[in-house]
Structure formats: structure tokens, C-alpha cells
Amino acid sequence: MATQTVAATKMAQPEINYLNHERGLKSWLLTLDHKRIGLLYLVSVVFFFIVGGILALLIRWELLQPGQTIMSAETYNHIFTLHGAIMIFLFLIPAVPAVLGNFALPIMIGAKDVAFPRLNLASWYIFWLGALTMLVGIVTSGLDTGWTFYTPYSTMTSSGVTWVVLGAFILGFSSILTGLNFIVTVHKMRAPGMTWSRLPLFVWGLYATSIVQILATPVLGITLLLLALERILKIGIFDPALGGDPVLFQHFFWFYSHPAVYIMILPAFGIISELVGTFSRKGIFGYKFVALSSVAIAFLGFLVWGHHMYVAGQSATASTIFSLLTFLIGVPTGVKVLNWIASLYRGSIWLRTPLLYALAFLFVFPIGGFTGIALGTLGLDVPLHDTYFVVAHFHYVMVSGGLLAFLGGLHYWWPKMFGRLYNEKLAQLAALLIFVGFNVTFFPQFILGTQGMPRRYFDYVPEFTLLHQLSTVGSWILGAGLLLVAAYLLHSLVKGQPAPANPWGAGTLEWTHTGRIPSPHNFERIPVVTRGPYDYHLAEEIFGNGHQGQEAAVTPAQGQAPQPESTR
């Protein structure tokens, strides 16, 4: 039994793993280990998620009733802008790739590290440099443009646009470095036998994401630079008072910001594939399609940005072409969902927390998808554009992709990251709270939108009160669910049951070929891959010789306290 050799040698002496082989703050701040960098990112993005989340709760509180509730209109405008900018630039974009991707991708393809470990660490420092630069602008004069920075408002306002824009410019480099690293790693660092058709789908998702990061982020860079120069030097490219064209700015902005949506959603697709595969113990239906459609979506995603601009004054010729292409991208996305559902068919489905998040995703994401179709439709978008329908739509897509998938992935890889289990019952309760809270928060917003409630409104007409209040109550449920997650995960860090090396009976390398907690260089010896990631029926080392999968040790009965692996 191949894996046991690794595990058994570990048992004999105190285990050396990536967490304990070096100690002290310096060993973390100067680490080149992709797993440790993943954790540095984890702490960072969770911090910014908390900040963005508090801002979101404040927004909902203000909207509890018409008129001023807790803050002035000016403050509200700053708060919703910061919520958007922080959640997008500092949470959604780095969350899955830089945290879970950094941690898992090299192990999943059988590499000792990413191709450029120093650039990887640099990307984390650049992330903070960008975040702090943004902070300078926010602290000194706030930001009230909306995260979209539309000109000429952004060139006229006295708030800290220049600093924030330069901060986002710097953040772009961090994103580019992560993407560049992943592409090269996937191309050049795969273990022997790890062919393209044996890549786990999470790796495919990250690969496609990286393509978008590489190709779109530089355009954001130049756009923001031109915006900063517009403010500093009055270059007159975007500012109509100087002869510039504000619609041109929107083209520049959405050339990045629409593909950026795929930076947030494609890795989520990858996580869902892993979760569905592992917890139904069955191959992903249409593996090739699911893998390649990620790459196809990455490229098609560049051809549709104009669907944000149907009512902006864009030519109808452009709008029509953008609309048609938008529908074409809807098809592979829809087929992916159907493939995941089909993968459940005749599987052996094990309802654990990570899968619950995947199922929640499969409920929430299609709603985001269908409403996306409505917004891509020329005639329908006109009344719906810039209303709460759009707000609800992108929260359905981004929260399903950025939050539900991230939480699913975090719960999935948690035992591998820290070698400890969390309280399954509480985790399931939290997943339920988050699912309910999310839908109560955002579903009413669809109705608000079709009724005509515009977005970015501090105040609203009294007819909308009931739906807004429902939404606010939902945000409290969602917040409570997230607090619960934080509580039991922190508890798990300190007092969690030790996790076995492969608690879920998964078939990818990070579970089958590393110890409870991976060693500093991941593998004692580089593995040779002989089967696909979801070929459980070929996975002798998990299920061979009458073996029942390591999870047998974890779940003698549902809900009972799991025992450590050493019982074997």
C-alpha cells in the first residue's frame, strides 16, 4: 500500500510538516513555500472580507427604512463604494486562486512548488502594498465614485480617487504574478504521468483563470493609469470637458472588469468539480467538456464586455454583437451545470459540509445565470440596467462563486491545511444559515429591480420598504452564519480532532500522496501518475484489498466524534 509508507514513517517520529519545520514570524514572512504563502493570503483576504462584510451590513442597515437611518447620503456613497472596491479587488479576485490555488495547485499536479516561488511571495507583498496605497486615499479623503470609477464623476470628485486607482494598479501586478506563476507551473511542473487529461478540474479552472488574469489585468492597469493622469495632468482622453469621451472610459474599464468576473467564477467552477467528484465518488460527467469549456469561457469572456453599456450610448451595432456573444457564453456555462448534476447520477453521495456548499452553489448559481440571460437581452436590459436586479444578479453569481465555492473549498482542504477536523454539525448548520440568509437577502432585490429601484440609492420611495426590510433581515442571517463559521474554524485550529491524511476518500494527489499535513516539499518522492483524478474504481491505494477508504476511520456513525487516523 503505497500511501501508507509515507504515513507510517511519519508515525514513528514527531511529524515534520510545512507548518512546524520552521518557526517564528520571520520564517512565515520570508517563506517561499506555496502552502505558507497560501495561508498568508488566507489571513489577508479573510481580513478584507470581514471589512467588506461589515460595510455590507452597514449598507443594509441604512436601507432598513426610507430616508436617513444611520448615516448621511455622503457617508452611504463612500460606504457602498468601499464595499464594492474591497470585496472585488481585495477579496474576490485573490480569494480562490491566491489562497486555495496557491495551497493546492502544485500538490495536485505533483510539483514541489510553483515555478517561481520568489515571485509568488512578491505577489503577496505587492498585494499589501496595493491595499495600503488604496487605504491612504480612503483614509485621507474617502472614495465615493462607485467601484466603477466612471468619468467624469471620478475626475471631478474631491475624494481620494487617485490614490485608490494607483492602489488598484499595484494590486494588478499581484494578480498578474499569481496568474503567470500558475500557467508556467501547469505547463512545466507536472509530475510524470500527469497528462493534460489527468489534471484535476480545479487545476483546469485555475489555469483558465490565469489566462484571464494575464490578458485582462494589464488593460485595467493602463485604464487606471490614464484615469489618474486625467486627474493629475488633464490629458483629456476620458473627460468630456476637455474633449474626451466618457463612453471610451467605459470600454476600457469593462474590457478588464467583465473578464474579471471570470477571474472570480472560473476557479469556483473548479472547486465545484472537485467537490462533486469526491463526494459522489464518481468521475465528472463530460470531464473533457468541463475542462475545456473553462478555457473557452476564459476567451469568450473577452468578447462580451459591451453588454454593460447598452444604455450608455454605445452604438446599436456594437450592442447587438455583444449581446449575441453574451448568449454564446451562456451555453457552455449552462452545460457545465448540467454536467455536474449528471455527475451525481448513480453516484455514492456523501453529504458533508463541502458538498453542501457545492449543492448550494448549484442552486444559487443557475439563478445568477438565468438572470444574466435577461440582462444580456437587449430589450430586457434597458429597464433592468442599473437597478437592484443587477445588484441581485451579480451577488447571485459572485457570492455563489466567490463565497460559497470559497467556503466549500476551504472546508474541503481545511484538514489538509491544518491537519485538523472541524465540528461537522456546526458546519452544516452554518452552511444552512448562509444559504438561507443569502437568498433572503438577495432574492427580494430581484423584485425591487424589476419594480424599478435603481442601485446606489441612499434613499427610496416608500413602496419598496417591505422588500428592503426583508433583505436587511436576510443580511443578519447571513452574517450570523459567517460568524458561526469563524467560530468553529478557530476552535478547530486549536482543539480540532486530528484529521487523517485523506478524510474524504478523495483521489487527487494532495490527499493520496502527502501526509496528514504536507511536508515542506510536499512529496518525499515525486509521484508517478497512472490514472485520472476521479478514477476511484482504479484507486487501489484508497479502496483496494478490501480497504474501505480512510474516511471509514472518520465516520463510524454520522455525527459521532471522529477518531484519529492512528487507529489503522
Binding site: 447620503a73 455622503e74 456613497n77 465615493d144 465614485t145 467624469p152 464623476y153 471631478m156 470628485t157 468630456p240 470637458a241 466618457p246 459522489s280 465518488r281 464518481k282 468521475g283 460527467f285 463530460g286 467538456f289 444604455v311 450608455a312 450610448g313 446599436a316 447587438t320 449581446s323 448568449f327 454564446l328 451555453v331 449552462g334 452545460v335 448540467l338 448534476i341 449528471a342 448513480r346 453516484g347 455514492s348 453521495i349 456523501w350 448549484l362 443557475p366 440571460i373 435577461a374 437581452t377 437587449l378 430589450g379 430586457l380 434597458v382 429597464p383 440596467h385 423584485i447 424589476t450 424599478g452 435603481p454 446606489r456 441612499f458 434613499d459 420611495v461 476511484y536 474501505q548 477508504g549
Partner: protein, 316 residues
Amino acid sequence: MYAMILLQSTAWLPEAASSVAPEVDSLFLFWALVSTLLFIGVVGAMTFFVVRYRRRRLDEMPEPVKEKKAIELAWIVVPTILVLIVFTWGFRVFIKMYTAPPDAYEILVHGYQWYWEFEYPNGVKTTNELHVPAGQPVKLRMTSVDVIHSFYVPAFRVKQDVLPDRYSSLWFEATKPGEYTVFCAEYCGTQHSGMLAKVIVHPREEFEQWLENAGVPEDMPLAELGAKLYRDKACFSCHSLDGSRLVGPTFKGLFGSTRTFEDGSTAVADENYLREAILQPGARVVQGYPNVMPASYASLSEREVAALIEFIKQQQ
């Protein structure tokens, strides 16, 4: 019960009061129906599989399911056809929405931070109230004085961004007399959510009548004109009359009081100060208030400024 309400189209869509609205609505309902059916199918299948194939024994080893090309092909082709139907339908509605009939009645629209001004062919101007005849196509030629705004009437299902230094156009034909809300749908600053207007749809003859009587009499007393301007220029959205604090200082007791400015200096609010504060709002900003008052009031006439000052004087 909740589900019942959701199923009613009136819970979803506001009143339909323009000629194009029913077409948008039928497209919306088609989309909603197909989406709901597909969604129920997807989530239903998911739920069924999770229950039916839940893990019963720990060592269960499901047989790999053979992929069927026919299935894969079917769920590529069917959605493609569906989205192409929606695309074509949406395209036709869109073209109709934006192609104004040649005989449309033209009204000029100016967007300001944070109010709308409408100018009729005979020179009459109104603020935040757009009067239109029912049953006749109306075309709006719109431009903005400062930042991008967006003219949005939910009941008419129309929306168009309003850009500085460019004319954009929008048309509609109101079908029912009544009052409908206009929102600004493109974020435009502090009072974005206060940038509301009304479309007042008159029966045809009534509209003609209104238009004739709408001019401002030359001899209106200053204070009365000031009160009208306070309303029309939407001063009220930032300056209260009852002493409450909005975006800007209240007008109550303003005249004759001592103002303290950002740089610590002070001045008594006399006629000259009020004049400066209206025409060059950024020159001296009262402490504790944001410098957000638009400079567009510089275009007020001498008489109008005098009227406003007179009006403010009276607010003691």
C-alpha cells in the same frame, strides 16, 4: 402564499404605461417562465439524485457511468436554440425602443446635479416635472451639465444615459394619463437618490392648455419667484427651511448669522455673501459641510439671484 404572490406578474413588474411596455413585459414573462421551468428541472434533478443515491455503505463503489454523446449534444443544442430565440426577440424590442417615430414631439432635457430641467418647444422650462400628452410619441433630447446621469421611467420601461457635452435621445408614447416616477439610474454623487422627477401625462387637450399657462409672469414679486426657484432648482434637496441638517446648511435663520468657514475665518451672511455662496459655492465652504454644491447655479439671471436672496432673507 409568498409563492402565490411571486407568481403574479404584477408583483414583479410595475404598472405598464407606455406603448413599448407590453412588448417588454411579454418578453420578460417568456424569459421568466422558461427560466423557472429549467431551474426547477435542474434543482429537482439535483435533489432527487442526492436523496436517491446517498451513500449507504462506506465502501460503496459506484460504477462509472458511460458518457452518452447524444445527451451532451442535446443539452448544447437546446439551450442554444432557446437563447437565440430570446436574443432575436430582445433585439426587435430594443430597436423599437430606440427608433423614434418622425412625428415625435421633442422636449429638451438637461440633467444637473441633482435635478432635471425640461424645456418645451415654446421656451417654457420646468424642473423635476415633465409634462407630456398621452397617446403621442415624445422624443427627449437629453444632455448633462456636469456628470453622467440616466433618465429612467420604470412604468415606460425606458432608460438612457445622459452625457455631458453630448446629446442622447429617448422616446416613448405614454398610454395612460397619470403621474409616473423618473429616477436617475446612473450614480451621480451625493444626492443621486434624491434626483427624482415626475412624468405627468395629460390627456391631449389638457396638455395644450397646460403648456400655454406654464410661462412665468414677468412681474412676479421677488420673494414669490424665490420660492418658486427654491422648488424648481431643487434647492430643497440640500437646504431645509425648518432648520434640519441636510447636505448643506439650512436656510432657516441663515441671513444675518455669522458663518465659520473651513479655513477658520468667519463672515456675516449678508446679501453679498449669499450672492457669492450661490454663484461660487466653492469659494468659501462652511465648516462641517462637504464642498459638493454644483457650480451650475452660476447661470442664474441677476433677477433670479436677487429673488433667491430675498427668499432666504424671509426664512427667519
